[in-house]
């Protein structure tokens, strides 16, 4: 059962492996270049396991003043999107026993996107499938961060543009769910609201407003056609 689930999960995580190794290594390299030992990126990637916030935390650690409350609140803001990930997974994570807390702990953007877009293949245990997706993704990230700190500066080839692998991944996920669902309004609302907020508010402050706007759109959509059962 475990082997089958592992084999089913692995291919979906490979693109994330490439992306996480690259991003993780840049993160590890950055930490080391700022004077931290490799233990920092290794443990931070293991326990925080939220990419963008780990980059931010590197800056927090370099500040002269000690402000844990500020760090906590900042994290809530940066990671607020995870609240919505959790809400979308309430049903999927039901009845999974000890795996459930770990699945929640490891629910990063990329893992979430697989949970959303890839239903476990027929005959494969749902819990183990999601467990291996989560474990593999975390393994890639921690390995990348640690390797980056240890070896990052030894790598000499032009990697400009390789970060596009993440964009490509999300685009593929987007296309998959587009074909699976009849109602395209949720996807269009997601793209439209976020693009609007990005163009109006700029790249630093658009994420939370975009989420608010998306929720408002769904409130409106739901009120307009309350009897409608969604996809």
């Amino acid at each position: 059962m475990k082997t089958k689930a592992f084999r089913a999960a692995l291919p979906y995580t490979l693109p994330i492996c490439v992306g996480f190794l690259f991003l993780g290594m840049s993160y590890g390299f950055l930490m080391r270049s700022q004077g931290f030992s490799f233990v920092y990126p290794m443990l931070m990637s293991l326990f925080i396991f939220a990419g963008s916030m780990e980059f931010v935390t590197a800056n927090l650690l370099l500040m002269p003043t000690f402000q844990p409350l500020h760090a906590f609140l900042l994290t809530l803001m940066v990671n607020a999107r995870h609240l919505f990930y959790g809400l979308s997974m309430l049903d999927k994570f039901q009845n999974l026993g000890w795996k459930k807390p770990y699945l929640i702990f490891g629910l990063c953007d990329e893992t979430f996107s697989i949970h959303c877009a890839v239903p476990p293949p027929e005959g494969v245990d749902r819990g183990w499938f999601m467990f291996f997706v989560t474990v593999l993704n975390q393994l890639y990230w921690v390995a990348g961060a640690t390797l980056g700190a240890l070896l990052g500066y030894l790598i000499h080839f032009n990697t400009t543009g390789i970060e596009f692998v993440m964009t490509a991944l999300f685009v593929v996920m987007f296309l998959n769910q587009w074909e699976e669902r009849k109602d395209h309004r949720p996807a269009l609302i997601g793209v439209g609201c976020t693009l609007l907020c990005l163009l109006v508010l700029g790249s630093d402050h658009f994420l939370l407003p975009a989420m608010g706007l998306i929720i408002l759109c769904f409130l409106w959509l739901r009120r307009r056609s309350p009897q409608e059962v969604s996809p």
């Binding site: 291919p11 979906y12 490979l14 693109p15 396991f49 939220a50 927090l60 650690l61 002269p64 402000q67 844990p68 409350l69 760090a71 906590f72 609140l73 900042l74 994290t75 990671n79 607020a80 999107r81 995870h82 919505f84 959790g86 979308s88 997974m89 309430l90 009845n95 459930k100 929640i104 702990f105 953007d109 996107s113 959303c116 032009n158 400009t160 543009g161 390789i162 596009f164 692998v165 993440m166 964009t167 999300f170 685009v171 593929v172 296309l175 769910q177 949720p186 996807a187 609302i189 997601g190 609201c193 976020t194 990005l198 790249s203 658009f206 994420l207 975009a210 998306i214 739901r222 969604s230």
Partner: protein, 107 residues
């Protein structure tokens, strides 16, 4: 900062991250049915959030001198490859290599 202060700062970040991840599950434990609108959100949000993440990836590109043109071309290649072969790895690798060539040699 001392090492202890650094550890506490990282702990605060871990606590913040875990709050955002565990809160929905603590508010709506198994067996406790969330309100209808929350359940509705659960069905429509995944599609919307993937759309959000696509735009999120483009957040810096939009404001560069090319206004995201290389990224749009890359996305076009990903979409065409995906429509053609339906192979996740091929679409992603093809699109990324195309984009890398584009930003390293053309733009």
């Amino acid at each position: 900062m001392t090492i202890l202060q650094q550890v506490l700062t990282v702990a605060a970040v871990v606590l913040g991250t875990m709050t955002t991840r565990f809160l929905p599950f603590l508010l709506f434990p198994e067996g406790k049915q969330p309100p209808a609108f929350i359940r509705y959100l659960g069905t429509v949000l995944p599609s919307a959030v993937i759309g959000l993440l696509v735009v999120f990836c483009l957040k810096d590109a939009v404001f560069t001198s090319w206004h995201g043109l290389p990224e749009l071309l890359g996305i076009l290649v990903v979409a065409l490859l995906h429509r053609w072969k339906k192979n996740i790895l091929l679409s992603i690798a093809g699109g990324t290599i195309f984009y890398m060539v584009l930003v390293q040699m053309v733009f």
